[in-house]
Symmetry: C2
Amino acid sequence: MGKVPRILSWRNMLVLSLAVNFSLILRILKGTDGGNSSYVVSIWPVVSNSLDRTVYGDSKWPVVSTTASGSSSLSSASCTYNETQEDDHRIINLKLGDPMVYERYWQEMGHMTTMVIAGWQSLSYFSDNNNELCWFLEPELAKEIVRVHKVVGNAVTQDRYIVVGTGSTQLYQAALYALSPHDDSGPINVVSAAPYYCSYPLITDCLKSGLYRWGGDAKTYKEGGQYIELVTSPNNPDGILRESVVNRSEGILIHDLAYYWPQYTPITSIADHDVMLFTASKSTGHAGMRIGWALVKDKETAKKMTEYIELNTIGVSKVSQLRVAKVLKAMSDSCGNETAKSFFEHSYDAMFERWKLLKQASKTSKGFTVPDFASQRCNFLGKAFEPQPEGIVDCEKFLREKKNILTKSGKYFGDDLSYVRIE
Amino acid sequence: MGKVPRILSWRNMLVLSLAVNFSLILRILKGTDGGNSSYVVSIWPVVSNSLDRTVYGDSKWPVVSTTASGSSSLSSASCTYNETQEDDHRIINLKLGDPMVYERYWQEMGHMTTMVIAGWQSLSYFSDNNNELCWFLEPELAKEIVRVHKVVGNAVTQDRYIVVGTGSTQLYQAALYALSPHDDSGPINVVSAAPYYCSYPLITDCLKSGLYRWGGDAKTYKEGGQYIELVTSPNNPDGILRESVVNRSEGILIHDLAYYWPQYTPITSIADHDVMLFTASKSTGHAGMRIGWALVKDKETAKKMTEYIELNTIGVSKVSQLRVAKVLKAMSDSCGNETAKSFFEHSYDAMFERWKLLKQASKTSKGFTVPDFASQRCNFLGKAFEPQPEGIVDCEKFLREKKNILTKSGKYFGDDLSYVRIE
């Protein structure tokens, strides 16, 4: 089912995943952007932009619009164009992103995923009186979560408790609440190997919790006693498949597997961890629904996570859950269709195209390089290995000042200034 | 518009607001429940049940189903019946509730509020690129929020910033985050006059925040320095219209006006406070959407509240916002209809009927009384005064052990054991 043999010439497109027109970079770096007509390109901002405001204190936001030349080769639904007369305020924002790359696919699916909701539906707080644990989880969503993981083969669902959240961000906090000691031992350290998702330290420390606190880079973590290690795999921002690095018996693990889907990375094994987080934003692209889910081995942990979500938001939007259930169903159905490309093949191709354009741009420019990854066999899409060179060079300041390209500096990910993340 | 003169023989039905069949209490207290056929009555649990589990550590939940006699006079859509053979496990749960009382109204409205959502809609994180503050607020929802407050006359919206949240629970936490000092002065005390909504202490203290902590009953609060006072008006659980009680210049106020709608209480003035919280759960009854909104006077406060919601859940479900926008529109439209009852008149009548039944039950029984309130003029529905006696007597233990009626003891609201709250 959906296991079409194909060549994987990349390992992880996550780094740059969403909402970018690479041909623009190419043109601008080459200085060939002086066409006759010009456009405002609104590149959709990303997840991290919410936090950019926190970090940078931008007064106005979203940030981006830029002029670019001619009828560019933009194919992404994530960019919109408006003509403009001004050519001297050209800014390209690659700090920010949005999963609009998937919009075209869902448009092509037509009314298969159209939902009709009557005004008297979903009034109740409660979704499932038979679910003695996560009472606000829609049974239909639970069913489709189990099915899609079986179809893709990316995570164990048997004997796991499903906890639904308002995005995986809320589930990360629910997991911290559930896994932290609630005695008087003081806050437990939460660590992750750098470079880590720049939002994690901010989310962890924003309320100065007495239960947990950000403990920094897991690679240099030396403190004794219990700790929580966050393993993001594939990693945000660098796309590497990861495992725990501290490896001590007192470690409690949370696995953020938001990007562990075949459009981003080869599915090399069925993930089987204590707490695994997923989100619709990255799997189906429905970020605006704010739906994530956790697969949890231990009942008490799942119970405490549910308790956090009760306290934090008294459950999760039912209509969003039903919307995501329907989309997951279509996604799974597409994998059994022999005559048409599956959602994942379609998305893989879109990502592949973007990655190719970025690599072209980096070859033309002497200013920067993009990372290459050793290929691995993907159990879902097929088998293939292709060696790639490695290395990233450049800095946020250079791109911003010399090229009017906004990127996110490595420093926000606990990494070197010579790295940037683009979306 | 909608200002139909009518007699208000109550002040606040909130105490018992939702999801109860009072005729059952009447029958059971009178001991007339031995009919020929018996039923399981599932009374929907409420908001507070999420917290009941925290407090009571119930292992299984939702809690309730009960057998009751014959074809009762239940009219509420909030109760469902299934026949059962067992009559000895009869339990009535009045601890819990759900705004299913509104279901019938929305059903009668038919397809006026039906929504169709295509699978490719609402993928983006972003709702409004022109909103430099709350970028995840759907413009359509903002428009309908302003309109409904104008129609009802219950809150000032001019020159206010609207922040949308995943229910007003999230907005309460956003307000705490925004209003607490972020320096090293330690946690600020959050106080509220007892009896207060039993969830507030739990929500406030669940993460042992270094920014804020629960400071208890505002009526006995003596500490110096800055503090936050939460004013819930009408109050949950007792329905009284309230004002700040500490009244010191260092006080920062949050007004929870979730129940300040004409089906619950006379609208006596246009609320005009710094931070006012509202929720769809209590206004339209769409609890399952998890949509609340704050009207905020100060821009920096609104910005910090937005920042919290970014960190906590990266925005709010778009489809839920659009669903609530459509329902609010129908609600406002109904107030301009001269030939049919408005949503508020309809809901007022439903609440009135329930209150009347409960009062009948309390008169028949010597075991307990229910409160009466002095009537006040409602600017929205009309004018009327009617004096009412006062007093509540009874305790949770008596009702539970002697009558198999589950209620919520006054102790969870910072109040006396002789009081209970029922839903």
